[in-house]
């Protein structure tokens, strides 16, 4: 294509070759504003190359102290803490799922025709979802004291709203025909829920609860740091006395546990959801 042809096309449709000057100026301004904000934010947090370098070398020192990992003298405490974390996650998830079940039914558009009730329940779910597990843990530690009960309550409270929302969505996706079959046979609302809706949604609900259990075993480790029971307490104590080799050992154990639970739950979910043609 010759230069004159190119020029001709450029004259005909200039926007196809470069954005108009107005837009270019606009883009430059946005980019400059973003860079200025980034620089200011980094300065605010004391983000200097020197501190970054210091931090990295500090991390390297810790990593060196971690090797080789060692169980230390308190094997039993570590295992008990780990088991406690898993138990907290399981119990918290089970409690959340049991409470989310009726709430999910109440929040489902195809079941609850009272729009105001359903709407307020849905907004309540949204509100609860904005509060993190750790905040709940801090609150419950004050309310019921140190220990795993606070952890279980924190996990359950944080998950109820999310699970209820997911459950409501699963219920809204049920096939109406199957429920109608139960209604046509003379089933009342209880029968329609039990035999028409529940068989359709239960596997999905169980699978979601399992997924939450997985992520809660990871989260439960941190709860101990604020005193809500579990392995987190053991880690916090050892960091305080700089027993980094024991910290490393606990972290390795946690990785193995979480991986095992992930694998088990993935297998279970597969079995629950699968089985369709």
């Amino acid at each position: 294509m010759s230069g004159t042809e190119v020029a001709a096309w450029r004259a005909r449709l200039p926007e196809a070759f470069a954005p108009p000057p107005r837009r270019r100026l606009w883009r430059a301004l946005v980019a400059a504003a973003f860079l200025a904000w980034l620089g200011w934010a980094l300065a605010q947090f004391g983000f200097t190359p020197a501190r970054l370098w210091q931090g990295l070398s500090g991390l390297a020192a810790i990593l060196r102290l971690m090797l080789p990992p060692s169980p230390g003298a308190l094997w039993g405490d570590i295992l008990r803490g780990l088991a406690e974390s898993v138990a907290m996650a399981l119990l918290g998830t089970v409690v959340a799922a049991l409470l989310a079940l009726p709430l999910g039914f109440l929040g489902a558009r195809n079941l609850v025709t009272a729009t105001l009730l359903r709407f307020s329940i849905r907004r309540l779910f949204d509100g609860f979802r904005g509060i993190d597990q750790l905040i709940w843990a801090l609150a419950y530690v004050r309310a019921v004291g140190l220990g795993p009960l606070a952890g279980v309550l924190a996990i359950a409270t944080a998950d109820i709203a999310v699970l209820a929302k997911l459950y409501a969505e699963a219920i809204e996706a049920v096939e109406r025909r199957q429920v109608e079959g139960v209604a046509a046979a003379g089933g009342g609302w209880a029968e329609r829920l039990r035999f028409g809706v529940l068989p359709q949604v239960l596997p999905v609900m169980l699978a979601q609860a399992l997924y939450f259990f997985e992520s809660n075993t990871r989260a439960a480790a941190i709860l101990g740091v604020v005193g809500a029971g579990g392995i987190g307490l053991q880690i916090a104590e050892r960091i305080r006395v700089r027993a980094w080799d024991e910290v490393a050992f606990i972290i390795l154990l946690m990785i193995v546990t979480v991986a095992a639970i992930d694998w088990l739950s993935a297998w279970l979910r597969q079995r629950l959801i699968g089985g369709r043609r």
Partner: protein, 266 residues
């Protein structure tokens, strides 16, 4: 006797069923034909109150069905079993439990609570359901999930569910439209048998006039929500048909075939 009086149902501006009055004597087998959208499904669903009427009444042996609610409505739905074109089985439940759903409305008080809680039915009910499944050649698949069955098998399960309701009336909404000829014959014969042997009234929506002629005592033709023909099968000859629909029987059948081939029109 089932009696419809000025039964009307509007959906927005569409009048799906328009002032239909019919009297169906007990023990009659009534075929309802009509083109797609004529209001056949809506008519049947008005009878068991899956759809509420905009105006008019349904009476059964003098009882105003349109005024029933709660337990009485459940009782009425138990008495008029429904067979759907798409079977409407609960896919994840096994065949036996799907059949047993026909016995749900017979469980009261403590037994109802137990069934709801455990999902398990009393042994006597199970035995009754197994006998029914056996009658329709379904014993071998009784413990399989409904979703693993072929369409013909599923419709037979739906028939078992309907008959286990020990109904006085069966409403069948295009029960054979998604079936192969052999299963279609089996289902129509079973409806005929229930009608003849047990005196159950049958209201059946059909695409094919030919099928209606072969099995029904009386034929009602609908057009745009209204009843435009009501009489013996022999009266609905080619001339009458042309006068009503402006089509020959073959053209009507071809149109129905095309409508049935469209996926999942309820």
């Amino acid at each position: 006797m089932l009696e419809l009086r000025g039964l009307t149902r509007r959906f927005g501006t569409v009048v799906a069923v328009d002032a239909v009055s019919l009297a169906v004597p007990a023990g009659q087998m009534l075929g309802i034909i009509g083109r797609s959208g004529a209001g056949k499904s809506t008519l049947l669903r008005l009878v068991n109150r899956l759809v509420e009427p905009s105006a008019g009444q349904v009476l059964h042996d003098g009882v105003d069905v349109t005024a029933l609610h709660g337990r009485a409505l459940r009782g009425w739905r138990r008495d008029c079993a429904m067979v759907f074109q798409q079977f409407n089985l609960v896919q994840r439940l096994d065949v036996l439990t799907n059949a047993l759903l026909g016995r749900l409305a017979y469980q009261h008080g403590l037994r109802r609570a137990r069934v709801l809680l455990t999902g398990g039915f009393p042994a006597a009910e199970r035995a009754r359901a197994l006998a029914m499944l056996n009658r329709f050649g379904l014993l071998a698949v009784a413990l399989q999930r409904a979703e693993t069955l072929s369409g013909g098998q599923q419709q037979r399960v739906a028939l078992c569910r309907a008959l286990l309701q020990a109904p006085r009336l069966i409403l069948a909404d295009e029960p054979i439209a998604s079936l192969d000829p052999a299963n279609a014959r089996l289902v129509m014969q079973a409806l005929r048998e229930a009608n003849r042997a047990e005196g159950i009234s049958v209201l059946v929506n059909l695409h094919h006039l030919e099928t209606a002629r072969a099995y029904c005592d009386r034929i009602v033709a609908m057009q745009a929500g209204r009843v435009v023909f009501d009489g013996a099968p022999s009266e609905l000859d080619a001339a009458r048909l042309r006068a009503i629909y402006g089509l020959t029987e073959a053209e009507l059948a071809a149109e129905a075939e095309a409508a049935a081939a469209r996926p999942a029109m309820a």
